[in-house]
Structures are given as C-alpha cells and as structure tokens.
C-alpha cells in the first residue's frame, strides 16, 4: 500500500479535468521527503517562508504519469486496458522485461506523415508507417500537404501526459519495452501556456538501438521553466515493428510554496523567450533578424559583377529555372569574383515575378514569413496567394493560434489544401476563428485534414459540410467525443469525396450511410476503431451497393463485422487494400475469404490480424488466389503451420511483408526455417520469437 496516506491532499494548483488520483502515481520517495521536511522544519529551505528568488528550489522529485490528456493513436480500443495509452500511467509494469505485452502502450497511426521534397513522384523517397515504410507502399498512401514545413524527423504519433506536481524538469525517462528508438521530441508545457521543446533527436540518435528494453533519458535542454505536462513525439520510420512504451518518468526540482512568485518571474522570462522562439512571426512584428532570401548575398553579388542578363526566349523561363536549379553552382565556381565593384545595375529582384514566386515556393511557412520582413518587394511576393494554395499548420501545432489563422486568412485566397491537424490543443485556436476562416476561404478546398483538432465542435463540422462542397479528401481522425461530433447531416452535402478518413472518430451510423450513398466516387475509406457502436454489416452492404470504386478499406477492430458483411465486401471488385484486423471475432469466415480473393484480383494488401476464424483452407485459398498480394498480416491466427507458410511464400511472388506474430502453432524450431525462407524469397517475415 503506498504512503500516499501521508500526502496532503489538493496542494498543487492543477486544473486538469481528468485528474483522478491514481494511488500509485508517485514514488514513495516523495512522501518520505515530505515527512522529513516536516520533521526538520524547513531544512530544504522551502516551507511557509517566502524567500527571495535565489531560494532553494524545493527537493528533487521523480514522478510517474498521473494521467493521459491526449494521444494520436493506440493499438487497443479505448474501453480496453490492453495495448492502450492508459498503460503509461503509473509505474512500469513490465520493464525491464522485453517483449510484446498488453500492459504497455503501442501506437498504430496507420498513415503517418511523410517528408517529401517537392518532387514529381506521387510517393516519397522516404516512406514511413507505424513501423518501417509499409504504409507508404500501400494503395492508401497519402501525400503530405505543404511538406516542406516538416522537419527532417517528422512526428508520426504523440502522447500528452500530465503529472501530479510542478517541477523544473531535469530529466525525462521513457521506459521502452519493445522495439525502442521511436522517440524524437520531448515537449513541456509551461506556466506561460507555451510549449518548449526540451529535446530533439538528431540523425545519430536514431541509429537503431539494440532490441532490448531500455530506459531512455536523453539530455534535456537547460531550462528554468516549471511544468507538469509533457508531450512525447514519435517517429516510426526506422522501426522493424511496433514500439511499446511502459511508463514515463519526469524528474526535476519542485518549486514548493514560492511557486506563484517564481511563476510570475518565469512568465516574464518565458514571454521574452517565446518572442525569440516564435516560429512564425507576423510581418508587423519587428522581431528576428532580417533573413536573406533563399539564394543569399553572394549569388546576387556575383550576378551583379558578371552583368548577368537573362535572355528571354520562348522557353526562356524553363531554361532559367533549370539553370538556377542545376548549373548555377557550377557557374559560380568557374567564375571567381574580385572585390570592390561599382554599384550593381541588376539585382535579384529584377528577376521575373514568376521566377521569384517559384523560388519562394520551396520555402516552409516559417521562412516565408521571415522573407516577408526583408523589404516591401519581398513582402509583396511572399504574401502572394499562390504561395498559400497549400497550408499545413501541423508542424507548428505548438504555436498555431487564432491570430495566425486570421493572418493566413488574409493571404490564402486561393486555398486548395488545408491541414490543421494537432492544432488547438489547450485552447489556442477558437472554433469561431476556424469557422470564420473556413467561410472566407473554404469554398475551393479540395483537401481538408483536421486530425486530432481539439477545437472542433459540432458547428465547425456543420460549417465544413456547408462551405466545402468541393472536397475530395476529408480527414477527421481522432474526434472521439461523446456525444459524437459527427451527427449532423450537413456532411452529407459533400458529394465528391474520394477519400474519407474517420480513424478513431465517433459518428452516427446514419450519417455515414448517407455519405456513402452520396459519394459514389469514394476510393479510400478508413473506419478503424469505429466498429463498436456501428453496425458494420450495414456499412458493408452500403459499400457494396453504392461505392463499388473503392480501392482501400480499413475496418480495424470492427467487432460486429460478421461473415455476412464479409460477403458484401466481396462485391467491391476494385479493392486493392483491405484491413480486417480484429474483425469477425468468433465467426467462422465461411466462404467469405474465398469469394473475396476470387472477386478482387487486384488485392495487394490484406490484413487478417487476429481474425481467429481463418482456417487452413482459407490459407490455401490465399496461396492459390493471392497473385498480387504484397502485404499480408496473419497475426494471432491459429492453425497456421509452416507448410501453409511455405505455400504462400512460393505462390505469392510479389509478397513483401508477412506478419506471423503470435501464431502459436509455429514452433520454436520453425523460426530458423522462417528466417531462411525470409532470405530466400526476399520477404520480411515478422515473428514473435521469445526474446
């Protein structure tokens, strides 16, 4: 029994709504120290006396997570305690054991963001997914909006946790119990209502660590901020399989009862810091050094000295473009420069407007705003609406605010694609501002992503339905509120949708059914985690009737999908990707799988994780009919023998990924055989070998 009985209740000034006391959240250490403190009457210098700012800053405290505020995805369904985000609460349960345990927290974001340089190919050079790059190779892969905004190690998933006491953080330790190496950033939320990045991974940090559980505690930035809320960012691109977190520990010095005094000082210090740190400063502010534009001083100087005059023929623009992209550096190296020349007659701003626009279009949003501070000309160029046809505030989630939206609304008159995912946490963006933005600029929107947006309410969604009738893609992941946000029929106005993503979002079934009827061109549909309150058989029947052009369908954890629903799905002949993970629990599949494989010859990706009703005959059908299969997940299916696996490997020539974790029939001695076959057939085979 913990020593929390000694702890005085309600001392910290936390206002978190979900602060339900977990009795074991604090290390007993705390209570012992408090007792000692009382006995020795202020030995540590804190207590009732108000000290000057150089007072002892309380005592060293290690805390485990008290509660989870938000997360982008989890493997388990939210009423469960297996493989869900709630497992990071409290002390580690499995650490230092290594393995795939249900008492930990894995993520399954299913479609991660991707870093791409603006290129001509539809898919990127650096694909990612929940592990490795399998999702980007699947038919349902998406392209990131305004991808140049993303940092090199983009965030795929995150979790926001809070602790009991405010501390000045000195160490954050993350207990990883399976496939470590996904943490890329650690943020802390200070009293000034700003997020500070305490640590960011560099390339060398992600060199794949040993496959063993580890207590990951990187060196944090030195800071004097006070916090008890952390956000951890994850990137799964280097991983072999899911990563799992057992606990998070926050270590630091408490600030005792002088908290308010220090807090005030912190706030003034922080506001200076945040001004300097503000990633995107509106041009009205005179903060930040004037940054030279992309090409830099030396180039225009060289151009001046060489009296460079572009000759504009018909294809002059492309020639110039090619020249600047490819040959400019070579040109500069060949011609050296002497100093002290007469003032230039040609400068960069003499380049045609379109060229400058093209140059600036490679910049990320932050740099674009900085360019606007250089001069009036550059301000005019950088505020041109063509540069704001695609807008993504996802990488700037920590500074996105209503004011920013307001500023962007003035510029983005030709907005086509908008991504406001992750913004608005903790109240920075107001729904009214969003609605205003949408009403002003939303009528030509083709792609809209509002994943994990905390500011969304029912009237925002209503607005989306009314204003944005040209939408081709709508992504509303992670809006699982109760009552469901999506209960307005206004979304049924959208008739041109090709991609609809409702991952982990609650909605009324009737709305979904009417949307399916209305959007005959639907190609990609994601209904993961929606299966509890929705009758999936009805949905499947609707899909078979109205949405026969469907290419990818994700029904992860749709519990109530039965064999009848599966039979409906067999009428979708264009299907290339189908995720039936954890569906069809107890039912036997009957003829369903055979029909599916026969009718959908283009099937490239088939996930049957934990579909326990799969029989050996079904596996034989997969081998016989799955000619185009590239990714196959058979996790947790009984009745798999290594003969069946061999069959599949031989007869599916395009297979790249085969997941056989938790297939208990495969004996230990077969694992070596599997490794051999993996090499022989060049297929990545995942197994849950006991480590």
């Amino acid at each position: 029994m913990s020593l929390l009985a000694y702890v005085e209740p309600g001392e910290s000034s936390d206002t978190e709504p979900e602060a339900e006391a977990e009795p074991d959240a604090l290390v007993d250490f705390t209570a012992m120290l408090r007792q000692r403190q009382r006995e020795y009457g202020g030995w540590f210098g804190c207590g009732s006396k108000m000290q000057a700012e150089q007072s002892d800053q309380g005592y060293y405290l290690e805390q485990y997570v008290l509660g989870v505020l938000d997360f982008s995805s989890q493997y388990g369904i939210d009423y469960s305690i297996s493989y869900t985000a709630a497992n990071v609460i409290g002390r580690p349960t499995k650490f230092p054991a290594y393995g795939d345990y249900p008492e930990t927290f894995p993520m399954v974001s299913r479609s991660g963001p991707c870093r791409t340089v603006r290129s001509e190919f539809p898919f990127n050079s650096r694909p990612q997914r929940t592990y490795g790059d399998w999702w980007q190779r699947a038919p349902s892969a998406t392209r990131e909006i305004q991808a140049q905004n993303l940092p090199k190690l983009a965030t795929h998933d995150y979790i926001v946790v809070y602790f009991e006491e405010f501390v000045v953080p000195t160490e954050v330790a993350i207990f990883e119990t399976f496939n470590p190496g996904a943490v890329v950033r650690i943020w802390a939320y200070g009293l000034t209502k700003h997020w500070t990045c305490l640590w960011e991974a560099t390339e060398s940090d992600l060199a794949r660590p040993a496959l063993d559980s580890r207590r990951f505690a990187p060196a944090l930035k030195k800071t004097t901020m006070i916090t008890k809320t952390l956000r951890i960012d994850f990137n799964h691109s280097r991983l072999n399989y899911y990563t799992e977190i057992d606990a998070i520990m926050l270590c630091g010095r408490t600030v005792s009862k002088t908290q308010s005094l220090l807090g005030r000082q912190q706030r003034t210090k922080q506001s200076h810091q945040s001004q300097r740190q503000a990633l995107v400063s509106p041009p009205a502010e005179a903060a930040g050094p004037p940054a030279p534009d992309g090409s830099g001083g030396p180039i225009s100087y060289k151009l001046r000295t060489l009296k460079f005059q572009p000759k504009c023929h018909e294809d002059g623009a492309t020639k110039l473009h090619d020249f600047i992209n490819n040959d400019l550096s070579q040109f500069l190296m060949e011609h050296s420069v002497e100093g002290g020349e007469p003032p230039p007659r040609v400068c960069l701003t003499d380049l045609p407007f379109e060229i400058l626009l093209r140059i600036l279009s490679y910049l990320d949003l932050k740099s674009l705003f900085r360019v606007g501070q250089v001069s009036r000309t550059f301000y005019d160029i950088s505020t041109h609406p063509l540069l704001y046809a695609e807008l993504s505030l996802k990488p700037y989630w920590h500074v996105a605010s209503s004011e920013l939206l307001c500023t962007l609304a003035r510029r983005a008159t030709m907005l086509r694609k908008l991504d406001l995912s992750w913004c608005g946490a903790l109240g920075n963006v107001s729904p009214t501002e969003f609605k205003k933005f949408l009403t002003q600029r939303g009528d030509n929107l083709t792609h809209l992503r509002l994943n994990s947006c905390k500011f969304l309410n029912a009237s925002c969604i209503e607005n989306v339905g009314i204003v944005c009738d040209n939408l081709i893609e709508l992504s509303l992941r992670n809006c699982a509120t109760d009552p469901p946000l999506l209960n307005f029929s206004c979304l049924a106005n959208l008739k041109n949708l090709e991609r609809l993503d409702l991952f982990q979002t609650a909605f009324e079934t009737e709305l979904l059914l009417s949307m399916l009827e209305g959007n005959r061109k639907l190609k990609h549909l994601n209904l993961a985690f929606c299966g509890v309150s929705v009758n999936m058989d009805n949905v499947a029947a609707h899909l078979a009737t109205y949405n026969t052009q469907l290419i990818s369908l994700d029904l992860w954890k749709a519990h109530f999908l039965s064999a009848r629903g599966l039979l409906s799905l067999t009428r979708l002949h264009q299907l290339e990707e189908l995720d039936l993970g954890w569906c069809l629990r107890e039912a036997s599949l009957g003829d369903g799988l055979f029909q599916l494989l026969s009718n959908c010859p283009n099937l490239k990706k088939l996930f049957l994780s934990a579909v326990r009703g799969t029989t050996e005959r079904d596996l034989m059908h997969i081998a016989a009919l799955g000619k185009n299969l590239e990714q196959l997940d058979l996790m947790g299916i009984l009745n798999i023998t290594h003969e069946r696996v061999y069959d599949i490997l031989v007869h599916c020539p395009k297979l790249q990924l085969l997941d056989l974790s938790f297939c208990d029939n495969i004996m230990d001695r077969d694992f070596d055989l599997l490794a051999e076959w993996s090499h022989q057939f060049t297929v990545d085979i995942k197994t849950s070998r006991r480590y």
Binding site: P9, E20, D24, L69, D482, L638
Partner: protein, 322 residues
Amino acid sequence: MHSSLNWTSRLISRALRSSFSTLLETATGGGGGAAAKSGATKSGAAAGSSGCPRPRFVSVVCGFAKDNLRHKYKPGKYGEDSWFKASTESADVMGVADGVGGWRSYGIDPGEFSSFLMRTCERLVQCSHFNPQRPVNLLAYSYCELMEQKKPILGSSTACVLILNRETSTVHTANIGDSGFIVVRQGQVVHKSEEQQHYFNTPFQLSLPPPGHGPNVLSDSPESADTMSFPVRDGDVILIATDGVFDNVPEDLMLQVLSEVEGERDPVKLQMTANSLALMARTLSLNSEFLSPFALSARRNNIQARGGKPDDITVVLATVAM
C-alpha cells in the same frame, strides 16, 4: 480517453452471445457514482478516517496443484486454478478461478484462461472506472479484455470474486460455477455461496471456445453470476476456495478450522491455518476410501463413488479487521 461513462456505454458486445444490457443500466448509475466516490476519497481520505471505521482484509493464500510434479510453481496459480488479491483506497478485492480441465484434449492449456482472468481483474481494480459495488462488472470487463489479446486465449473457467467496500463495510460477491466462499462468525456459517451447475460435475463457466466450435461449447455469460451483498463485522473469517476444497473437506471440519482464527490479525497465524486447511484438502482428496462431499453428491446423482476428488486446491483465507 477514459471516462467511466464512455466505458460502460461502449460495452455493447453482441459477440459475447448475450447482451449485457442489464449490466449497463445499473453500471452507468453505479459507474457515475464510483467516479465521484473515487474522486472524493483522495481529498476526503483524511476526513473520512476520523468518522466510521474502515475495515480491511488480512489475507493469506495457500494451495496445491493436482499434479505437483508437472506444474512448476508459478505465483498466482496452482495448477489450473488461479487467484488474485488487490486493494485500493476504497476496497479490498480477492478472487479465485478454476480452469476447466476438459480443454486439455483439444490442445488448449486450461490454466491460461483462469490465470488471465485473474491477472486482468487485478489490473482492472486499479483503473479509474472500478466500481467497488459491482464485482460482476469486474468479471465482465475482464472477460472482454480476453478478446483484445494478441495471443489467442481459449478455454473456460469458473470464477468467484469478492469485494470489501471500505466505505460501507459491506462485502459484494459474484460467483459463477462451483468455486465459492464461506463466511464464519462466532462459530457459525453466516453466508455461503451456492454451487452453480448445469448438471453433475459441469459447473457454470465463462468460456472462449475456438472459433467454429461455439455452439458445441457450454458458455455462460457473466450476467448469470450469483451475486450477494452483506455487511461484515470485525473478526469475521472469509474463505474463498475452488471446488478442490469444498468437494473434499466436509463443512463441519471446515467450520472447526475457521472458527479458530476468528478475530486473528496476525498474518503468520492466519497463514498456518490456511496451510493446514489446504493440506487437509489435499490429503483427503488423495484418500480413496473417505466419503467426501463429492462422493456424497455423486451418490445423490446415482453414481457410485468413494474417496476424495483429486483436484487443484486454492485457499484464500481472510479476516476482517476494523
């Protein structure tokens, strides 16, 4: 995210072959109450203790696996039986589960199901939506968790869960099958659970059959559990055990042993009693002449039987201390 109402409203599980609608109605009422209660206990802990007495269990466990040689000792299990103990601010919880051995012939380890059930109950007690007045919910949620495991867990087991609610000094119990509990006060049995059987030697059981075998397998829902609630006083002795004990040790003998530890707060003495009870059950079970309660009940069903019934034995013995 976890609000208890969210949890209970999503627990509509047609897949479990019977709806928990009655569970839902009472649970949403009780769940809301529990959330408020557990929120209040933290701040009111200091205040609460001054007023009414807060009882707790002094509890010990002992047992034997039927086949000692094959089963290496693992904490929390005795052969195919399994048990758990947990406590929070507001409650003390204990439980046993007995895996049905018939699954061995299908290649399924019968102890896995019962072990998982108990381990999950233990974890669920620590969750924010734990309701100290509804042990049936605990069993139901634990049963649902089985479906969410990557590793396929099949089999079936009986279960008996007992919760002591500190606020009200009441004990709430839920029992499915032939495990059970007995409460002794002042040399008399004051409460006792009833054995639930479909027919002789086939108790009620929670089960998860292999897919496709569903209709052939006996499967009872957590709703069919027998529930009881009663107040307890200082010094009460509570015994929770699997059928290995109740089938081998006659009731008067059990009563004799249990009355000796009434009011006992020393865990060592309690452990000694539990050990002797378990040993008694083991010895009697291996005795082929003795007319055990099992033999008597078999005779009532026209089966000529003698001697004890060899089975796994699990004894969880507790006294109430205020």
